[in-house]
Symmetry: C2
Subunit: 245 residues, 2 copies
DNA sequence: TATAAACCATGACGCAGCTGGAGAGTCAAC
DNA sequence: GTTGACTCTCCAGCTGCGTCATGGTTTATA
């Protein structure tokens, strides 16, 4: 039986953290002496190790609690989700690093800020709902969206923007060039993974929407350079024709 | 002159956030109507864009304030530092993703927890201070350490551990194999970048310390496999001999 | 056996960067 | 003059603890 200080030394967590974990019911001491001292046995230590493991993986404490408390919990799925989240974060960081490098070169005054403006996405989402609200793809999208945290959503928006930014950079090239086609594939895969199964047909539908000439087209062009929306559409057309002759 | 809601729509930040930025003095409205309404002009909007840019790059609001308020501030250096931090975070995420994947495979019960135990690092740091406290390397180390946030420190500890974990994985190989030597170079570069200029001589000194047989050796071996400390030492010796014949 | 050192407790406040709600005032339009 | 959209100022709360403050408990030593 070990008291707080010793547990702290063994595991590297602070005494305060142990208090905290007791408070929120994440790790209760095995026994408490009449004087109120917390005592932990080896089982508790093991639990603490598990807690620290999941904490390191950036699981919220709440979730760690449910993971450890319900043995029937699907840990594999939780891990899978967390891997997705961490990967998303990692990719986001890569974008940010690029951004910071660029910023260092050209200075803040010459920066293009439109690239962060994810504010209109909800608007377009509403439009999309009106148009496609009944399709199975949209339902799949809604299903997946429900489960996401706001953080995840934010990251996804950003990633989506980055994909278009990349198209903007490539828009001098021919739509059928290998580099551009790779980017189309990336877009399709991204949508499939995070939003809904994106068949070539669906992708083509999206393409026509992007280049449709409405607010969305304007918004894409404004953020990534004139003609980007149309360029993406052309690239998508090539992509779909090549794969389905 | 725009009121909060309109600014919110234009930039995607919430009204509440504008209030917050006003409170902390990060973005004051250009004027305030007699009724207390906040009004922002284009200059303010521009400042807001800059704020959002740096916020996206994960600068703390405090720092954003000083960056924007003092034109003499060395932004380039600040960006450089932030790039380092973001890179560190990215690499840490890569480690976590690997960890999560491993965990998914072998399950939580077969995990090796020693890899997170960065708790003894402070202890060894104290020892190092006693031994090397007067050397210029140690002073450089102290200088750099002072400027770091706890988050950064944590990430550095973790990265350091990962470097050793990698040695642990390679410890069946010959110390003079290319792969191992690359890893030594990584270690040297890492130390040079984040702690102090690590010449071959210094590196060799570290090596003897690692394999010295004390608590540190035991700790390294426990976390990464028996013989890792000695293996690292041998690898370092080969490295230094090859480079300085 | 007294007392100091080391350890333990609770409780409250603080941090960052906000979000959300209550309750009330303001403004333009119909 | 009333509706509805907008605005304001508090206040509470979130995560995961750090950091006192204040006081009780245990153990080692004198």
């Amino acid at each position: 039986m070990k008291a707080v200080k010793e547990v702290s030394k063994l595991t590297g967590v602070s005494v305060r953290t142990l208090h905290h974990y007791d408070e929120i019911g994440l790790l209760k001491p095995t026994t408490v002496t009449p004087a109120g001292y917390r005592l932990y046995d080896d089982t508790a230590l093991e639990r603490l190790q598990h807690i620290l493991l999941f904490r390191e993986l950036e699981f919220p404490l709440r979730e760690i609690k449910t993971i450890l408390d319900s043995p029937s919990f699907d840990r594999s799925r939780a891990l899978e989700q967390q891997i997705t989240l961490l990967t998303l974060k990692k990719e986001h960081l890569e974008n940010l690093i690029d951004l910071a490098r660029g910023l260092k070169m050209i200075g803040v005054n010459h920066m293009d800020f439109t690239a962060f403006d994810t504010s209109k996405i909800d608007e377009y989402a509403a439009q999309a709902k009106a148009t496609y609200g009944t399709t199975p793809e949209y339902k799949e999208f809604e299903q997946k969206s429900k489960k996401r945290t706001s953080e995840e959503t934010r990251l996804l928006h950003f990633q989506m923007m980055s994909l278009f930014t990349e198209f903007g950079r490539l828009r001098n090239l021919s739509p059928d060039s290998a580099e551009v086609q790779v980017q189309v594939k990336k877009l399709q895969d991204f949508i499939s993974e995070y939003f809904y199964t994106c068949s070539n047909t669906t992708l083509l539908g999206l393409g026509t929407m992007y280049a449709g000439g409405g607010d969305l087209t304007a918004s894409i062009d404004k953020a990534n350079g004139d003609g980007t929306a149309e360029f993406v559409y052309q690239a998508i057309r090539v992509f779909c024709e090549e794969r389905e002759p």
